[in-house]
Symmetry: C2
Subunit: 344 residues, 2 copies
Amino acid sequence: LLDVVMPRQFPWATMRRRPPGLWRYREALPLGATAEPVALGEPETPLVDISAGGPRVYLKLDFLFPTGSFKDRGAAVLMTKARELRVARVIEDSSGNAGAAIAAYAAAAAISAGIYVPEGASPAKVAQIQRYGASVVQVPGSRADTARAAMEAAQAAYYASHVWNPFFLEGTKTVAFELWEQLGRRVPDWVITPVGHGTMVLGLSKGFLHLRDAGMTDAVPRLVGVQAATCAPLVQGSRGDLTLPPVVEPGVTQADGIAVGQPTRWRQILRAIADSAGFWTAVSEEEIRESHLAWARRGLLIEPTSATATAAYQRLAAEGVFGGHQRVVVVVTGSGIKTASQRL
Amino acid sequence: LLDVVMPRQFPWATMRRRPPGLWRYREALPLGATAEPVALGEPETPLVDISAGGPRVYLKLDFLFPTGSFKDRGAAVLMTKARELRVARVIEDSSGNAGAAIAAYAAAAAISAGIYVPEGASPAKVAQIQRYGASVVQVPGSRADTARAAMEAAQAAYYASHVWNPFFLEGTKTVAFELWEQLGRRVPDWVITPVGHGTMVLGLSKGFLHLRDAGMTDAVPRLVGVQAATCAPLVQGSRGDLTLPPVVEPGVTQADGIAVGQPTRWRQILRAIADSAGFWTAVSEEEIRESHLAWARRGLLIEPTSATATAAYQRLAAEGVFGGHQRVVVVVTGSGIKTASQRL
């Protein structure tokens, strides 16, 4: 596993003069000074105050991106890097939001893309990937077989994996910068997020540490990692002192975006949560369903995967975990529009 | 038909201190001073520079809203008004983007909603509307039968129609304010937009005239209205001096969002285009398909309905309609994610 190590610079006086959105933070991204962003019009995603007495609570609607999920942050930065490296073809394995994001930003960068998906992947999601002109390779067998096929193909191409490629994580870290800015240049006390392969939680961790090391904040938020109870290797793994990767056989879950039985960056993810003085929690299918519906009935259609985080917030708030003066952010990682016709 | 007439105030010094997005313009909206916005986190939608030599050309990605289309502008303002008026239940007829937007913002306002749709409406779109908790009434017969059934039901409820209700148009006019602001407080020379019932083009017209009468701009842009050739009553109507409403039998089109054979506000729409010194054009199914695919292959998945406008731009630019120093905006009204699995 590779990670990007870069100077902790954050020239705010320069950044603030640019339009809002992830590109204003470019000195904090590992891009050459002359790299032209592969951009599709990424807005600063909304931070919606949903406080109802007690702690200040916000939803970060991090799905209001061109392809409908926060994965556009990672894909935009990764494809900018790929173009800088004069890459001609990329490979990715994902039948979901990451596959769509890589396909879209590869198209925007005029880089050809092969997206490997397990046989039987959702036809709607495959259709979205194909519209961007990417070639979709359906692989028989398990999710692991798909990953193996992709890695093999990546011998002859650039592996633009949202799991393995460190430039993807560098893009997702911009969500932390936006939160800091939207909260009046202060970090929140807590951030609650769904965790599958950990791209969001690692991005948050990297981003907040970058801000701290650059002197923009003293504290960093406590991170709460949420998984579906039917597929919670990291929740289980957090309970012991692991030497081997945590592995579970994914059960059926509505939170298909985080149904990852064997998270590649498990050690890093567990450390990110622990170092932040955060914790892990799992939510039931019933909690996911109820929170998804409750938010839809308040007008926000979020991905069932993201409803793991809103459900966890609900329970933790009821348990009194958050102090009355604290600020809590719940990250909504994907749009519910893609799965509106899915049975709950 | 009713229209809102209000003072042309635009206190920019006050507005600019608020966060970006449609609510910063509230003095230009017909809302009481104490009305609490029914908000779901509406961002300022991106304006993407797609110039390639010659005129400056921009795509206004006006679909990056919670329900996936620009209709959220109208629905947010209309539902804020409805709550101010203590409305308990609203009726709307639309099986598409407007139905989803009204359902979502009614939910956000805790107002019950009945959405009337023609029998046979797209199951995916009906599913989205239902997720918000709205009751969907499927009406046998034609689109006109659905409208009649909705109007009847609206005798006992508030008719939150995107076609008839003037507060909806007041919301859509905020797109003009954003364009003016994003272009450095200057209006563009041209705006190209799809036209069905005319909510976008009327919003643009109202918004730019508001800016002009408030002294924020001397000129207003020339508006280009685009329809699908298989359903182009306004293109046809623009050729004569009409006394009767233009009516066509809608043919089959991929641009289902503007497949309106008999536009209610036809006289107002024709006048808006004519008064702006703009013009009308129709595009073929082949042009729609090609432009939709061309943009997807550049990474932007837009609704086929919106591809009417990008296709029209393409042709008009090739014909040399736009001057080299002019600024042209093409409005992208809906996300292509909802229809990604639709055959082209």
